[in-house]
Symmetry: C2
Subunit: 320 residues, 2 copies
């Protein structure tokens, strides 16, 4: 694993023309509620609506011309898929995307809008990998894995790189954990730039493979997951866990009720649209899974791709 | 009327420590849909969730100490109320707020949270003014009218001042029109800084007193209004209309369906929470009420205070 600060800085230089330097927002009401100072890095305002644009763009623009011509391929439940389709379109090459059949509709529409060639599969890790392998055999496209790829992780780390430029003297950086691409990139960037920062992964209790694996020191996939946070249902990758064990301070879990409450609270107070996965770090603060009082806390809001016609707090309550 | 660029600049210097220099966001999908370049000035991300923080803060911090001690009073359906309560709290003086009994609940809660002393009244202009006059007689508080006050208009004009610093070479500036405080301040700032900019007021067809008054050259209040855009139900003020007749290029109207569609589109694409009133300018673009193709268009998104549990596109559809 050669992922280090310089590869993240190189990624940043490479992708800068194609991504947004997202703003960092603060909110007095949320600060008062937890007693700390929260700094929200708004990757929901990123191109294609999620931090995934960073990693996918870095991977696509890292390819040699001869490789690039054959296109790229991946399997993803959504945000990486849209991000890769967008990056491929920017470079003018094909993107082959394997998506589980239960992917959120807005995410499918985004992949289509960016011109990605979609193949649907059963919603299991095995089916995704098999379908993707078949496509790569046929097309000789380059696999851009959603989180185990070093170029992807380097790209994801650029969010923390910007956050640390935008906000000095953070005590914590929190991000959600799915496959661990964002957590890995974030940890490498943060620990290299400011070793005293505590990097905390946050995960739904209903998909807590990363927390279990982190404690056990080895990868412990779950047989089933149950969470509204559709971006976090995947199992943490092998290199991602290795990075986490080396650099991450803790992985904490949150309830589904807290995810919905945190999502509602951020929409209501900060006036931004975030998806359930992005609410998980603030849910950890609401549930007091870590003590942030008098601390400066950076939170990477991972994305904003949500179906506005099906909001969890309204579905739960019935017709308004 | 002595409102001019220098009073807006003085307002900006006065309120700068207390407000947010809100970001300007762009979106490729919305640009593609209209063929122009749209620049959204995000006053939904402003303190107290609306541009109203600018005018109210300028008014409160313009008061001499001896005046300020007696407090301030106003009547408002919501955002000005919360903004005035907040500004008074910052200065440590009382704020007496008359609110119509049908004000949106999140707006009432905000006024309470900022320590405003609320008096509810019937939802008519006459009842609001009578209740407010009574309170002023009793307390000797200073009236801070939501839009006819020059200090308020100067404060509202600071949003356009920032927008023109943030985005060069705009062809249009669009904003919603209720009482005309934002439109007046915007027109003075924009025309002074860049006379070629076209300033367009946008208004719901169901509360089109400003459009009618603008065309007639005199104030024509409506006997009833019917719009989801709760911030725009008031009648345009006398000084506000005079300013509009002198400086504004046009006032256009939009349907209720377009307001809801524009609101949904901005939430979905830009990933921000805006209230119905803030969606009115983009609704005018969706309904092709002006031709923005190949134009650079600044849009002041006026606020983000909306009841997340009652969203118009979900109420219309029934249970999801």
């Amino acid at each position: 694993m050669s992922l280090d600060l310089s590869s993240i800085q190189a990624a940043h230089a490479r992708i800068r023309p194609h991504i947004i330097r997202t703003p960092v927002l603060t909110n007095a009401r949320l600060n008062a509620a937890c007693g700390g100072q929260l700094f929200f890095k708004c990757e929901n305002l990123q191109k294609a609506g999620a931090f995934k644009a960073r990693g996918a763009t870095n991977a696509v623009f890292s390819l040699a011309d001869v490789e690039a011509l054959r296109g790229v391929a991946t399997h993803s439940s959504g945000n990486h898929a849209a991000a890769l389709a967008r990056a491929a379109k920017l470079r003018g090459i094909p993107a082959h995307i394997v998506m589980p059949s239960n992917s959120a509709r807005p995410k499918i529409r985004m992949v289509e809008a960016y011109g990605g060639k979609i193949t649907f599969c059963e919603p299991t890790q095995a089916a995704r990998e098999a379908a993707c392998a078949r496509i790569i055999e046929e097309t000789l496209a380059t696999l851009v894995h959603p989180f185990e790829d070093e170029r992807v992780m380097a790209g994801q780390g650029t969010a923390a790189l910007e956050l640390l430029e935008q906000v000095p003297d953070l005590d914590y950086v929190l991000c959600p954990v799915g496959g661990g691409g964002l957590l890995g990139g974030t940890a490498v960037a943060a620990k290299a730039l400011a070793p005293s920062i505590r990097v905390i992964g946050t995960e739904p209790a209903g998909a807590d493979d990363a927390a279990r694996s982190f404690r056990a020191g080895q990868r412990l996939p779950l047989t089933s997951v149950n969470t509204i946070a559709d971006g976090l249902r995947t199992t943490i990758g092998e290199p991602n866990l290795a990075l986490a064990l080396r650099l991450v301070d803790d992985v904490v879990t949150v309830s589904e009720a807290a995810i919905v409450a945190a999502m509602h609270m951020i929409w209501d107070a900060v006036k931004i649209v975030i998806e359930p996965s992005a609410a998980v770090p603030y849910a950890a603060i609401m549930e007091r899974r870590l003590d942030v009082s008098r601390r400066r806390v950076g939170i990477i809001l991972s994305g904003g791709n949500v179906d506005l016609d099906h909001l969890p707090w309204i579905a739960k309550k019935g017709t308004p």
